[in-house]
């Protein structure tokens, strides 16, 4: 095994371990949320979906924001590490979006009486999800690395620009979606036990993000090292 390849394999292993620890910690979040956090009287047990849905939304929107920042920096600095990171973060963001977009309707059915409504928050979120699936499709379709990085950076920046609109959509438009209860100018409006569980779950999702992105970044490094070794022979 060559030195760059061994280095890339190390990154992959570190990422997998971090992701594995994150998944074990997620089991701890389930115990905390289901066994030690009070049941909300008006919504019942379905309210506990919130401890997955909100951290997944957090992780997805952080992922997409970082794609945009890395993409903008790539266009400026032309550093391939930034493009590699953006690709990894986009893929992981799509995974967290899938969690957000499945847990949301499952909560909405018993609370709103419908799985889905085409209001601003939900529609924008779905749009960004499809936009980043398109981003990954674009990356798969363009084979020249420099062109692929340049084209996808533009899409990544456009995707990032939608993130603030998703967060602010509940203020800008009439929407069924609840308003923020933590990330808002005033103090969080949540009982302390619920807030603690939510914050721990958010930390665990952040750990999962780091583990997944590190693994995905390492796998891209392995691919590149293999191609370089093939070109050298």
């Amino acid at each position: 095994m060559t030195a760059p390849l061994a280095q890339a394999a190390g990154v992959v292993r570190r990422g997998l371990v971090l992701g594995g620890i994150g998944l074990l910690a997620l089991g701890g979040v389930y115990v905390l949320a289901l066994g030690h956090t009070p049941v909300e009287a008006r919504q019942g047990l379905a309210q506990k979906i919130f401890y997955l849905h909100v951290p997944a939304a957090w992780a997805a929107l952080v992922s997409f924001s970082l794609v945009g920042i890395a993409s903008a920096l790539y266009l400026w600095l032309k550093d391939p590490r930034l493009d590699r990171f953006a690709a990894a973060s986009a893929e992981v963001g799509v995974v967290f979006s899938a969690v957000m977009l499945t847990t949301g309707p499952i909560w909405a059915k018993p609370i709103w009486g419908t799985w889905w409504t085409w209001d601003a928050r939900l529609t924008l979120t779905l749009f960004v999800f499809f936009l980043f699936i398109g981003y990954l499709g674009l990356r798969a379709a363009v084979h020249d690395p420099a062109e692929r990085a340049r084209f996808s950076a533009v899409v990544g920046i456009l995707g990032m620009l939608l993130v603030p609109f998703i967060h602010l959509s509940v203020y800008l438009f009439r929407t069924l979606h609840p308003q923020p209860i933590v990330l808002k100018p005033s103090a969080p409006s949540l009982p302390p036990e619920m807030l603690t569980t939510l914050l721990i779950s958010t930390l665990v999702f952040t750990l999962l993000y780091l583990g997944f992105v590190t693994t995905r970044y390492g796998l891209a490094l392995v691919d590149e090292a293999r191609e370089e070794a093939r070109d050298a022979t």
């Binding site: 394999a9 992701g19 998944l23 997620l26 009287a41 979906i49 997944a56 969690v99 499945t102 293999r226």
Partner: protein, 42 residues
Amino acid sequence: MPPETPQNGEYLVAAYVIATAILLGYWGALLRRARRLLKEKD
């Protein structure tokens, strides 16, 4: 739980199962891809 609290635990179970399947599935896919790629290198 007060008696007037809605009984909707099945939605909770569905959401937790699906979220776990997505996250565990993605980690498993990364693990499989890593094993395959790293085996090719050795």
